[in-house]
């Protein structure tokens, strides 16, 4: 037996980092893997069971490896309006969150992130773990021209609790005052008390919270969640959940060689107001004027097998695209994928799976949300 496709985790030799919950995972019998330089749980037994528990009930993920960066200062808003392709001016209600790409001058995606509006002088960014160093370097460089400070909050742990029962379970054990506020917040909003920060956000397509809290409180809170019946889930399930939800994964579905328009992320670019200068705007304007020759789509495999990243997508006219993320959908019991393909793609295509051409249907890149299948199967 030999791995014919590279597993989605990548082995590296550099010094491995651990989150504050590392021992807790090991006590629960987690299978640990090197996940972009972090020693993280891939599952605690069955990835498929963990996937279903999030769709049907509630599960939790240690996402403390993600990078939290606070932007503070009189020009915080101006700075972020320049730094990000989406416009933080849309954030008018305290705690409101926005998803955005951070672009380079040629409109390549440096990272995707969530920005929370705390007040006019304070915003919080959550960026990917694998891009931490380059993001911090880029943000600090750009910040030099503004009256702002950039602080990484590496002492915060982060736990994502996701699923239809997530809010009820979390609110029942949060410190009282925060529990009351958390019960009230709308999707894509946050509330906080002291160092505890609760966002109604996630990466699964289900309702839930992402909770940032001081590291020394993390294991206690994790254990309380276990006690009220929240099942621990590994990054394996997190990947199949986000794939079903059609959410992009940085480094797989897009990177610095792609712009948001060819990555299914045009909706995250704020073109208005016309006079807002953001990094990458000029390049993006030019790309938009020329017109796009590629498209970001979802694929549903019509035959047996499992779609995988980098498999070629062969169109009827002979042109070729590529799967960016593929896998097995436990909810649909079918294989699905996200793919970047020539704009000429029709309703079906063929996938070159290890030398065999297999039939796939082209669908909207959003397969499952809130427990419901979104496409015709």
């Amino acid at each position: 037996m030999v791995f014919a496709c590279r597993p989605f985790f990548v082995l590296r030799n550099e010094m491995i980092r651990k989150t504050i919950l590392n021992d807790a995972h090991r006590k629960l019998g987690a299978r640990m893997v090197d996940f972009g330089g972090w020693d993280m749980p891939v599952n605690y037994g069955s990835q498929i069971d963990e996937h279903h528990v999030v769709r049907n009930s509630v599960g939790m993920f240690d996402v403390s490896h993600m990078t939290v960066i606070d932007i503070h200062g009189p020009q915080a808003k101006l700075f972020l309006q320049y730094l990000l392709a989406n416009d933080v001016a849309k954030l008018t209600r305290q705690g409101k969150a926005l998803y955005s790409c951070m672009l380079n001058e040629s409109a390549g995606i440096i990272d995707d992130l969530i920005v929370y509006f705390l007040d006019d002088e304070n915003y919080r960014l959550v960026v990917n773990a694998s891009t931490r160093e380059k993001d911090l370097a880029w943000i600090e460089e750009q910040a030099k021209s503004f009256d702002v400070s950039v602080s990484e909050r590496s002492q915060l742990a982060m736990i994502a609790v996701q699923g239809p029962k997530a809010r009820q379970k979390v609110c029942s054990i949060l410190p009282e005052r925060l529990g009351l506020s958390a019960a009230e917040i709308k999707p894509f909003s946050a509330c906080w008390f002291g160092e505890w920060f609760v966002g109604r956000t996630g990466y699964t397509g289900e309702d839930g919270f992402e909770i940032m809290l001081p590291e020394d409180k993390a294991e206690g809170f994790w254990n309380q969640l276990l006690q009220v019946g929240v099942k621990p889930c590994g990054l394996g399930a997190r990947d199949t959940l986000r794939l079903e939800a059609g959410m992009s994964l940085y480094g797989q579905d897009m990177d610095e060689n792609q712009n948001p328009l060819e990555s299914g992320l045009a909706w995250t670019v704020a073109w208005q107001p016309n006079d807002r200068e953001f990094i990458g705007r000029a390049a993006l304007d030019a790309i938009k004027r020329q017109g796009l020759n590629s498209k970001f789509v979802g694929l549903l495999l019509e035959e047996k097998g499992v779609l995988r990243g980098h498999q070629p997508v062969v169109l009827d006219d002979g042109s070729v695209g590529e799967i960016t993320s593929g896998g097995y959908s436990p909810t649909m019991a079918r294989s699905i994928a996200l793919a970047r393909v020539p704009a000429s793609i029709g309703e079906t295509c063929k996938i070159d799976m290890r030398g065999k051409l297999k039939e796939a249907t082209v669908v909207k890149p959003c397969f499952v949300r809130q427990g419901e299948i979104q496409i015709d199967v």
Binding site: F3, G327, Y328
Partner: protein, 129 residues
């Protein structure tokens, strides 16, 4: 932890080969291999009647994580396949050495089995990995 029954031989590519009373060789993947792969979701079985050489790719198992080729540990003819895996690939996760068998080869030369690892040898191999 994975277990390694000593009634059979093992390839360093993680297949097991069990010589049965009728002289045929039943083949599957080790418990260690299924653990590494995670939940299996699809098995591409060989065809009964197909001739295979020792070390030939003749089946593919796909898990939530990766696709893996299965190599025949002996030369011969495939005389049976485990059809139940078509609908229940998870049988390999649940019972790698019994219900999760993949195919049976009628071997041309059972002495090829001597070239495989015994349980201790295989256990040492996976501990070194």
């Amino acid at each position: 932890m994975s277990n390694t029954p000593d009634d059979r031989k093992y390839a360093d590519s993680h297949e097991w080969a069990l010589l049965e009373a009728d002289g045929n060789v039943r083949v599957g993947i080790s418990d260690h291999a299924q653990e590494l792969l995670g939940d299996l979701v699809f098995v591409e079985l060989p065809e009964a009647g197909q001739s295979v050489g020792k070390g030939d790719e003749c089946s593919v198992v796909e898990s939530v994580k990766a696709a893996s080729d299965i190599y025949s540990p002996v030369t011969g003819e495939i005389i049976a396949i485990n059809d139940a895996l078509e609908d229940s690939p998870e049988a390999i996760n649940e019972s790698a050495y019994e219900d999760g068998w993949i195919f049976i080869v009628k071997p041309t030369d059972t002495s090829e089995l001597d070239e495989l690892l015994d349980a201790d040898g295989y256990q040492n191999l996976i501990e070194d990995e």
